[in-house]
């Protein structure tokens, strides 16, 4: 039984069948990649996992609990964090503040009126944030205005923000999209390092096969809203159905 | 039944004014992304174009009539318009009589000029600035414009009557088979409705069937991409602003005979036109027009004696109440596009 169990999920947008009978099982402490050509339903699936979309039928269970009908913040509180295709950070805030917010969310829950306490007094959280920033090599940037950083730094900050919540499951939506090769490699290294250091399950949606094959323990191939194959990276390489799906797209 | 028809007519009439103002406002919102609090002032300036033009036409010279005296006992001075001298008393008088329709011609270049000057001189520097700054600067401009008008024309309303030919009412009921004199509707209000329909149609046709309009519509949808195509979108947007100013101005010109213009008439319409635009949905031209007519008609119905007696005060709040209901049931107004002015 995996930590994330997707069963018979269907989603239609008007006349378009975006997801058809998707079944997916992500085992704990693995890296599971979901690949597929454009329009295969990868993003729709992801949005169903985090509460942005509600499937028409089927079930999504996380650690034994259904996530369906829950709001994104509730799902996050269950232990799922998400990294976006373009880094979503608090641009108006400093790097340190960006780190404090997920920590507060983890500690105080989805809402708390701590209006009189001073942020200065949160020494423990600050120390924890510094540790995490150090881990992603951003400690020297903690007072920077985060909107003014490079895209690579923003990506690292976003990941740090997700990781500091110690999620059980980290969802990554094309984490290297639009990155230069060097940055991509850095990101791969960072993810590998994270995987080594802590118990975490990752679910990656990715186009870049280099990233997928460097990281994934298992791969699911989606095509036209349905899973085509699910297997280890070695077996996926050269799988005829996969080739057909991608080539079909190219044609 | 006859009362309902009358109120529908009233609603259409009010609605045409709302729709015309909202149309310009939403064009500016949609194309330039600017919150223009001076839009009401443009409407007011339009109405004053009619006032100014009729003043120009009635420019007079004095002759002294020794046989009569004024209130202080001095000989009476009588004004004779130059128009009477130039065209003779009869033609002169009828030219003056037709001042309001004639001032449409006069106001178009003026309003376009004002719009052009506003956009180039002020608004264009605020495209990248926060909405808060846009509100402050355009609100400041609106105050300045209306104070200038007040300095020249005073605070009282100034009657600007429609031509003699359009005074009186049209017996609308007879057309529909009612008894004569049951549904009477003033000619000028019918003219206003027709005029509004014409302008709205012209703006839509312009945006729909010209390449210019196509570019502008594309720009409304995605400004950056259009910019990337190497199209000089800024220049088109300047013209768009001028057109929006002109639409507001023309709405004002023709409105002058309906409600005597005064310097703060723009502020009276400003809030209402924002409500109309938002209820219609941000970035949607048909939405603005539709919402204008809808709110106009609802306001008219809510003013019916029977309705007011049933729900006292409903006539005071109907527009806002409807706005709340619509915005709660339809998140982006009637026809709003996603992501426009939602941050």
């Amino acid at each position: 039984m995996g930590i994330l169990e997707v069963k018979n999920v269907n989603k239609r947008f008007g006349g378009l069948q975006a997801l058809g009978d998707v079944n997916l099982s992500v085992a704990e402490n693995t890296v599971h990649a979901i690949i597929g050509p454009n329009g295969a339903g990868k993003s729709t699936l992801l949005n169903c996992l985090v509460g942005k979309l509600i499937p028409d039928t089927g079930s999504v269970m996380f650690a034994g609990q259904s996530v369906l009908g829950r709001k994104p913040y509730e799902i996050n509180q269950m232990g799922i964090s998400r990294v976006f295709q373009t880094p979503e950070i608090f641009g108006d805030l400093s790097v340190m503040e960006n780190m404090m917010i997920p920590l507060l969310a983890k500690r105080d829950g989805s809402f708390r009126m701590h209006a009189i306490e001073s942020l200065e007094d949160e020494r423990e959280l600050r120390a924890e944030a510094e540790k995490m920033l150090d881990e992603v090599n951003m400690l020297d940037k903690q007072d920077m205005h985060s909107a003014s950083m490079s895209r690579g730094d923003k990506r690292r900050l976003e990941m740090a923000m997700c990781l500091i919540q110690r999620p059980k499951l980290l969802l990554l939506d094309e984490p290297t999209a639009g990155m230069a090769r060097a940055d991509t490699n850095n990101t791969i290294d960072l993810l590998k390092e994270i995987k080594e250091k802590r118990d975490i399950t990752m679910c990656i949606i990715e186009h870049d096969m280099h990233v997928v094959f460097s990281l994934a323990d298992r791969i699911t191939v989606l095509a036209q809203g349905t899973p085509l194959v699910e297997d280890t990276p070695e077996n996926i390489k050269g799988h005829p159905k996969v080739k057909e799906a991608y080539l079909g797209e190219a044609a | 039944m006859d009362q309902i028809i009358v109120q529908v007519l009233n609603g259409l009439d009010k609605g045409s004014a709302y729709a015309l103002i909202a149309l310009g406002l939403t064009l500016i919102f949609g194309t330039l992304g600017v919150v223009n609090f001076a839009h009401g002032a443009l409407f007011m300036l339009g109405a004053f174009c009619a006032v100014i033009f009729s003043r120009i036409l009635s420019l007079s010279h004095e002759i002294v009539d020794e046989t009569r005296t004024d209130f202080l006992g001095n000989p009476m001075k009588i004004d004779v318009p130059y128009m009477h001298d130039i065209f003779g008393p009869e033609l002169g008088a009828s030219i003056i009589d037709w001042a309001v329709p004639l001032s449409i011609l006069f106001s178009i270049p003026i309003m376009v000029g004002i719009g052009f000057a506003m956009e180039r001189g002020l608004i264009k520097h605020f495209y990248k600035r926060p909405h808060a700054d846009q509100i402050l600067v355009t609100f400041g401009l609106a105050i300045v414009l209306q104070e200038i008008i007040k300095a020249f024309f005073g605070a009282n309303p100034i009657q600007t009557p429609a031509p003699e030919a359009f005074t009186g009412s049209f017996d609308f009921g007879v057309l529909l088979g009612f008894d004569p004199l049951t549904i009477m509707y003033p000619y000028w209000r019918l003219v206003y409705f027709a005029f509004a329909a014409l302008i709205i149609g012209a703006v839509f046709a312009f945006l729909q069937f010209t390449t210019f309009g196509m570019v502008v519509r594309a720009g409304m949808a995605d400004r950056e991409t259009v910019g990337l195509l190497g199209i000089d979108i800024d220049r088109r947007f300047t013209l768009m602003f001028a057109i929006a100013a002109c639409v507001a101005g023309l709405a004002g010109v023709m409105y002058a005979p309906i409600v005597a213009p005064n310097y703060h008439m723009g502020m009276d319409f400003l809030v209402l036109s924002f409500v109309v635009v938002v209820v219609g949905g941000m970035g949607s031209l048909p939405g603005a027009v539709f919402a204008g007519f809808l709110l106009g008609i609802l306001e008219s119905f809510a003013s019916m004696p029977a309705v007011v007696q049933l729900l006292p005060g409903i006539n005071q709040i109907v527009i806002y109440l409807v706005a709340i209901i619509i915005l709660l049931t339809r998140p982006r107004g009637l026809m709003g596009r996603k992501g426009v002015m939602e941050e």
């Binding site: 985090v50 709001k71 913040y73 996050n76 964090s81 979503e88 608090f90 641009g91 108006d92 503040e97 404090m100 917010i101 507060l104 969310a105 829950g109 809402f111 708390r112 009126m113 701590h114 209006a115 009189i116 306490e117 001073s118 942020l119 200065e120 920077m144 003014s148 950083m149 490079s150 895209r151 923000m161 919540q165 | 808060a132 700054d133 600067v137 609100f139 400041g140 401009l141 105050i143 300045v144 104070e147 200038i148 300095a151 809030v271 924002f274 409500v275 938002v278 006292p312 005060g313 005071q316 709040i317 806002y320 109440l321 706005a323 915005l327 709660l328 998140p331 002015m341 939602e342 941050e343």
Partner: protein
């Protein structure tokens, strides 16, 4: 000190000192000099400065932090005012219960309005709040006349005998703070100068200092940071496990209560309420105050409030006679010339000056008076410092 430090502490001390010394600072000109026209150190205006300061500080907690632009905040001020005057008419002439009820009622009303309006964002939210405020105004002016007094509003009348206060027959009750009447003043005369120390003003000033202190605490609290996060990126916030709705609602209610406090104080200082306080222009005014001073800055809204109220109360009172007095030392021709030039901008032309000021501030001092002031200060720090600033700024914004 007091849980705030550094720059915040100096700003707080500055505001406190300015507020407490206002009767002196605002009367810089001797009473009999021609410039006395510009003195603002009389109780009514000083009270208005701080009351609108409170209003704007509260508004800034919502707008400055979360970015939600409410166009109906005057409604809460009005509700607070009506609650306070009814308390004074019925319960006690002591201002404390009145002000408490003002805050409570404004709070309750803002829960209702906020809960509904916050279902939408951006301009849709603004229009919803505007709609609520306009409905409140229209109803208070007409249908609700039995409760609100309609156009003429509510005042304390000779027949009003509050439960807990003794009012002599035929006397009109006066607002007091445990026996200290709001209208009590004492005047200090120093040479040609006169300074009025008014009880009501000091009550307002102390409340304002407390309100300002609270605002600083909120700004620097985790809650305040969450509000800024709402403004910055709601999507990220939701995916970080935070529910942005209660945060924005809390901010909305807090700022509504600030407005109620301001409304209650207005009644405490001047025992009357009129429905115009809830008209959209009144809501617009607090928006303008906040933007003019600098939204999101601590002291900006207070400056903005002072600026607008000063224009309204001082510039509008300058008439042609006063102008002639000013320029009387000049030769006649010059005098008339200058009077003619200045006349359109003062007295009945004060709106014109206000409009020009709005434009000037936003054009030349983007970001409001506070940021403008900082820029000017930076200019004076010399070219070298400026270059250095520029360099660090460049470092902070590397190209992508």
């Amino acid at each position: 000190m007091l849980g705030i430090k550094g720059k915040d502490l100096s700003v707080f001390i500055l505001v406190a000192v300015l507020a407490l010394l206002a009767p002196f600072l605002l009367n810089p000109f001797p009473v009999d000099s021609a410039m006395a026209q510009f003195n603002a150190g009389y109780p009514d205006l000083m009270q208005r400065f701080v009351i609108f300061g409170i209003f704007a500080i509260g508004f800034n907690i919502l707008f400055g932090l979360t970015g939600y632009l409410s166009f109906g905040h005057a409604a809460f001020l009005g509700v607070g005012s009506y609650a306070a005057i009814w308390m004074m008419k019925l319960v006690s002439l002591n201002i404390v219960p009145g002000i408490i009820m003002a805050i409570v009622f404004a709070g309750l009303f803002s829960v209702l309005v906020g809960y509904i309006s916050l279902r939408r964002s951006g301009i849709y939210f603004s229009i919803l709040t505007l709609a609520f405020a306009q409905m409140s105004y229209a109803l208070a002016y007409s249908v609700l006349t039995p409760i609100t007094g309609g156009e003429t509003g509510l005042q304390i009348k000779p027949g009003d005998t509050p439960l807990l206060s003794n009012v002599a027959e035929g006397e009109i009750g006066r607002a007091n703070f445990f026996g200290l009447e709001m209208s009590d003043s004492s005047v200090i005369t120093l040479g040609g100068w006169e300074f009025t120390m008014n009880v009501g003003y000091y009550v307002c000033a102390v409340v304002m200092i407390a309100a300002f202190y609270l605002a600083i605490r909120i700004f620097r609290s985790p809650f305040g940071m969450m509000l800024r996060a709402v403004k910055s990126n709601q999507q990220r916030m939701n995916y970080t496990g935070l529910n942005s709705k209660p945060y924005t609602l809390a901010a909305f209610v807090i700022s509504g209560m600030y407005a109620g406090l301001a409304g209650g104080l207005m009644v405490a200082m001047d025992t009357q309420v009129g429905p115009e306080r809830m008209f959209w222009t009144a809501s617009g005014e607090v928006v303008l105050m906040t933007i003019l001073g600098g939204a999101g800055t601590l002291i900006g809204p207070v400056l903005g409030a002072g600026f607008i109220k000063y224009m309204e109360n001082i510039v509008s009172k300058i008439n042609s006679t006063v102008l002639h007095e000013w320029f009387a030392f000049l030769p006649d021709g010059m005098e008339d010339f200058l009077v003619t030039i200045f006349y359109p901008f003062v007295g009945k032309g004060w709106h014109l000056t206000l409009g020009l000021m709005f434009m000037a501030v936003v054009i030349f001092l983007p970001g409001g008076l506070v940021q403008g002031g900082q820029k000017i200060a930076a200019m004076f720090r010399g070219k070298k410092a400026a270059e250095k600033d520029g360099k660090t700024a460049n470092q902070q914004t590397p190209a992508e």
